[in-house]
């Protein structure tokens, strides 16, 4: 296989070292887009889930909107977003938001719906208001579900940003890959891909670690399996 189709790991490593400053600059752009998309998408997803839980009458209008946000392929809407928001960071963040919004909103909403009924009865006999039940019972009880949604979001966040960069951009790892592809620089493409993979892994594991610390009560039967005799 010729190196311009499949470069050796050494060649990729060499491209990574030689073009480190360029790759780092583009990685910073993509990283910023991913983090902004993750923050904004998670915030909007949480707001949607809370609205659905607190406003039963609005569910019939908001649920279809939630589904449509996922049913419309981000690849199809990407050119429009670039047209509307420009070649800069905004269109990429918007695409990441679209991808992140759905898993966060659905997971959190699912958690808010599944509060232990006995707990709601207890809160009612204690004289809790609807607002207090939402914020002091439903929301904390739903945090493990929200954490699952955030983990999925952290895993898919780079897709939105990179797709946006492919459609139209002037910076970012997606842009760098597109440029390298046009020049048959497969080693640079793989180097950019490697950095993207490392960034994605770092994002997922740090999100997971952060969530474990923030929600220490969430059940983790895989961890407790270490102390349990697991049948083969």
């Amino acid at each position: 296989m010729p190196p311009f189709l499949l470069p050796s790991p050494m060649r990729v490593a060499s491209a990574l070292v030689d073009r480190w400053d360029i790759i780092l600059g583009h990685a910073a752009t993509t990283g910023t887009e991913i983090l902004l998309g993750l923050a904004l998408g998670s915030l909007l997803g949480c707001l949607m889930a809370l609205t659905l839980a607190a406003w039963p009458a609005g569910r019939r209008w908001l649920l279809p909107l939630l589904l449509v946000s996922q049913a419309v392929p981000v690849f199809a809407i990407a050119p429009l977003l670039v047209l509307w928001l420009g070649y800069g960071m905004a269109s990429k963040v918007a695409m990441a938001v679209m991808i992140i919004f759905f898993p966060v909103a659905t997971a959190f909403h699912d958690g808010l719906r599944r509060t232990e009924p006995g707990l709601l009865d207890l809160a009612a006999t204690m004289g809790a208001s609807r607002t207090a039940v939402l914020w002091r019972v439903r929301v904390p009880a739903a945090l493990p579900s929200l954490a699952s949604g955030l983990r999925v979001a952290a895993g898919v966040a780079p897709i939105g940003a990179v797709v946006g960069e492919w459609v139209g951009s002037s910076a970012g790892l997606g842009y760098l890959m597109l440029q390298a592809n046009g020049r048959s620089q497969a080693d640079v493409m793989f180097a950019a891909l490697f950095v993207l993979a490392v960034m994605s892994l770092a994002l997922w594991f740090s999100t997971d670690r952060l969530l474990r610390r923030a929600i220490p009560w969430q059940p983790d039967s895989l961890l407790s399996d270490q102390d349990r005799k697991v049948l083969p």
């Binding site: 232990e116 006995g118 707990l119 009865d121 207890l122 809160a123 009612a124 006999t125 204690m126 004289g127 809790a128 207090a132 039940v133 002091r136 019972v137 904390p140 009880a141 945090l143 929600i215 220490p216 009560w217």
Partner: protein, 242 residues
């Protein structure tokens, strides 16, 4: 709680149906204030439904009436319902937290001591406690509400027999002078703790009263009169099932 607790009445002249299925037949139940009434019966006989009606957790059917008890009821369920995101002290003061009031931490600590938990347990998470300890915390949380009426839905059924025995004695002491409606499957528990015992039976279910042994609760589990009453009550429950 120095004053004698109020009683309450559940009056359902046409019974109660849930999801189109008749659950309770015509019912007129008056609970005397400051006394423990135990409600027994087979599964699905409507015991918890009556308790939920009293707690205001279920809509009263047309033609029926239930004494308004809002703000005067404390509820203790079969599960301990401790929330994992608050420590033991946080769980005991859950009511104040939900009402947006400042919790009386000194009283919460005193109640924890009263139900037999060590001072160090107050800062533990519920996951660090045994089933019996969790149920003690749930009892402390119920007492923390300091309500004259206490509704208990099989509160000690999830703990082992010795722990249940200790919890019954503890509850009898700490709930004295309150109006208690205790739903239970355990005839011995009813006979030890109750001033009055009602058995729900039939379809739709109706309540009938059974005699209780002499003496004030908590009665000794080994008392021959109580054991004889337990055998009679078991027979009665078996009849209610058939």
């Amino acid at each position: 709680m120095a004053e004698r607790a109020p009683g309450f009445r559940i009056h359902l002249p046409e019974g109660l149906s849930l999801g189109g299925q008749p659950v309770l037949g015509p019912t007129d139940l008056s609970l005397e204030g400051g006394r423990v009434t135990a409600l027994l019966g087979p599964s699905g006989s409507g015991k918890s439904t009556l308790l939920r009606l009293a707690a205001g957790l279920l809509a009263v059917p047309a033609g029926g009436s239930v004494t308004k008890l809002a703000g005067r009821v404390a509820y203790m369920a079969q599960q301990d319902l401790l929330v994992p995101w608050r420590d033991v002290l946080g769980n005991v003061t859950m009511g104040a937290h939900l009402r947006g009031q400042a919790p009386d931490l000194a009283r919460a600590r005193a109640l924890l001591a009263e139900v037999g938990l060590a001072e160090a347990d107050a800062l533990k998470s519920p996951a660090q406690l045994s089933g019996g300890m969790r149920q003690r915390v749930a009892l402390a949380r119920t007492l923390m509400e300091d309500r004259p009426i206490v509704l208990m839905d099989e509160p000690f059924s999830a703990v082992d027999a010795p722990t249940r025995h200790r919890m019954q004695s503890l509850a009898a002491r700490l709930l004295a002078r309150r109006t208690v409606l205790l739903v239970t499957h355990d005839p011995l528990e009813a006979l030890r703790l109750a001033d009055r015992i009602l058995v729900l039976g039939g379809r739709p279910a109706t309540a009938s009263e059974v005699p209780v042994p002499a003496g004030a609760p908590p009665r000794a589990a080994g008392d021959p009169a109580l054991l004889a009453a337990q055998a009679a009550l078991l027979e009665r429950l078996a009849e209610a099932v058939s």
